[in-house]
């Protein structure tokens, strides 16, 4: 049995589809089965992009009314699955919402999860994912051995987003069931940090600053250089934790994945957790006083 039915956990910001979702839909569309996008909230204007990237069907939960997506979306997914539309694989982005939904669903369905993957292949009956470990120096190949659906999460930028699929994108509503105590968390306010210039994960040039800058004021140099190069400023976790710059600047395992034409690392040691976020850069310039810095 090959893959007949593949779901992608889909996200949109208003009417704009998330890039991570489009990447996953595009990959799903090459795996041979029919592709469904499962949206947290309403698909709205993003439905067209989902269809253009391969979604024949789009399930939407409708407004989550401030509740976090984990319990609500996993409940909606479970309801559709027990209603008879059971996917072979569900692909999630390895981001906050993706992993919360996947984690909840894994318990509801009693299925294992494979996380942080960067590739998926179907080989007859088996589905294999590949995951870089030890800062990307080794690639682990794992297969699912139990019952379907298989739950897998992929790091952003693992796949190219490819439009032009021209799928139907039929929108179907899929409401969450009664959440009980699990629905006890409510978002009461949303704060968005203002940024100018290109987005960190889309910029052609990224200038990253680390602890080697010495102190918070020196980060101005990074901002200035990024602006001059029409790029985006980024940061290591060390200086995010130290409060020099907000978390939204962080590059790495727990931050953003960037793949610019040029990544300039100033005063960054190149810890494995930082490397996984930028090793896909086409060119890397490291400015460091330590010749051995990676």
């Amino acid at each position: 049995m090959t893959l007949n039915n593949i779901w992608v956990f889909a996200q949109a910001d208003g009417d704009t589809a998330s890039t991570a979702t489009l990447e996953l839909l595009s990959k799903a569309n090459t795996l041979g089965g029919s592709v469904t996008a499962f949206v947290a909230g309403s698909a709205g204007g993003a439905a067209a992009a989902f269809a253009d990237h391969g979604a024949a069907k789009i399930y939407e939960t409708g407004d989550l009314a401030g509740s976090l997506p984990g319990p609500a979306v996993s409940s909606a997914m479970q309801a559709v699955i027990s209603g008879g539309d059971a996917p072979d694989v569900i692909m999630f982005p390895q981001n906050y919402e993706g992993r919360d939904v996947m984690a909840r669903l894994s318990v509801k369905l009693d299925r294992t999860v494979l996380t942080n993957s960067t590739d998926i292949t179907v080989d007859g009956d088996s589905v294999r994912v590949q995951t870089p470990i030890f800062g990307g120096s080794k690639l682990v190949n794992s297969t699912f051995t139990g019952e379907r659906p298989f739950l897998a999460a992929f790091r952003p930028k693992s796949f190219e987003a490819a439009g032009g699929a021209g799928a139907a994108g039929e929108v179907v509503s899929a409401a969450a069931g009664e959440l009980g105590a699990t629905g006890g968390a409510t978002v009461t306010a949303v704060h968005v940090e203002e940024t100018s210039g290109p987005k960190l994960d889309e910029a052609a040039v990224v200038v990253g600053g680390g602890r080697g800058l010495g102190d918070a004021e020196k980060y101005d140099m990074i901002e200035t250089l990024a602006k001059l190069l029409k790029g985006a400023p980024g940061a290591s976790r060390a200086i995010v934790d130290a409060g020099w710059v907000p978390y939204s600047y962080q590059v790495g395992q727990t931050g953003k994945v960037v793949k610019p034409t040029v990544y300039i690392a100033a005063g960054i040691s190149g810890a494995t957790q930082h490397m996984v976020g930028m090793k896909g850069s086409k060119n890397i310039i490291a400015i460091n006083k330590d010749k051995e810095a990676r």
């Binding site: 976090l68 984990g70 319990p71 996993s74 981001n95 906050y96 992993r99 919360d100 984690a103 909840r104 894994s106 318990v107 509801k108 009693d110 299925r111 294992t112 999860v113 996380t115 942080n116 470990i133 030890f134 120096s137 080794k138 690639l139 190949n141 794992s142 297969t143 699912f144 051995t145 139990g146 019952e147 009980g180 105590a181 699990t182 629905g183 006890g184 968390a185 409510t186 978002v187 009461t188 306010a189 949303v190 704060h191 940090e193 190069l229 976790r237 934790d241 409060g243 907000p246 978390y247 939204s248 727990t254 953003k256 034409t261 040029v262 060119n283 890397i284 310039i285 490291a286 010749k291």
Partner: protein, 255 residues
């Protein structure tokens, strides 16, 4: 206010990690230490209990070979007691099994208002265990907390997001996962280290928690070396190196 903190004990991340050649899973047979990612949760719990003026901090951990080194560090910081699940049958467990086991250990640890975990561990970093524990226990959860305040029957959390942060209110009991930097973990004092030696650690097996058959539906089939990136050119700054950088950027047509 009783807080339970999940603390993972891991191989020292400063040492190069090694895979067991027979199972391809991470070798965990050496000495294990407290995952730094969980020291923030321990500190947060101690501060919340201190602010509340009553209650205690209990640790839960799953680790091989009755390992307690990491637990002793957290006990030395001020936690009161610990439940340790150590069982050969759990070697190489997946995240879901880990969550079921920890949920069982939490049940054994007694009444609680809040469970705190790290957002992701340093060695396995699936980042799914806290939310899975919450689902097993039927509780709400908030991930990626950068501040936590408890106010009567609710907890208020500033939750980091990709674009900034959200303010979230959540009913108790709940599971909250914290990020690094949420608080500054204290160093154990000498007195704390001495006291930790006498604090109770309840060591149990999976069966003691009522978890009988354990298995997981994933298998590592092979491990490949990643294609190596070419070594870069090293240029020592003679005061004029910026010219070379400008030239390089010019060649790439980004300036």
């Amino acid at each position: 206010m009783n807080v339970i903190v999940c603390v993972k004990q891991i191989p020292d991340p400063a040492l190069p990690g090694e895979l067991d050649p027979s199972t391809n899973t991470l070798k965990r047979d050496g000495k294990l230490i407290l995952d730094e990612s969980d020291s923030y949760g321990v500190e947060m719990a101690l501060q919340l209990v201190n602010t509340a003026g009553d209650g205690s901090v209990t640790l839960v951990s799953m680790a091989p070979n009755d390992e307690v080194s990491g637990l002793r560090t957290a006990l030395a910081m001020g936690a009161e007691k610990a439940v340790l699940v150590s069982d050969l049958a759990l070697a190489g467990a997946d995240a879901l099994t880990t969550a079921k086991v920890l949920a069982g250990a939490i049940g054994r640890a007694g009444d609680f208002d809040l469970v705190i975990a790290g957002t992701e561990s340093s060695d396995g970093y699936t980042g799914t265990v806290p939310e899975q524990i919450a689902e097993v226990l039927g509780l709400p959860s908030v991930g990626f907390a950068k501040t936590i305040t408890v106010d009567g029957g609710t907890v208020k959390v500033d939750r980091q997001t990709e674009a900034g942060y959200d303010e979230v209110t959540c009913t108790l009991p709940a599971v909250v996962s914290v990020t690094a930097g949420v608080v500054e973990p204290r160093y154990p004092s000498f007195k704390g280290i001495m006291a930790a030696k006498g604090k109770p650690v309840d060591t149990v097996t999976a069966a003691d928690l009522g978890i009988e058959a354990v298995s997981w539906a994933q298998q590592i089939t092979s491990v490949d070396d990643a294609p190596a990136r070419e070594a870069g050119e090293v240029i020592e700054d003679d005061g004029e190196t910026f010219n070379k950088i400008v030239e390089f950027l010019d060649g790439l047509k980004v300036i």
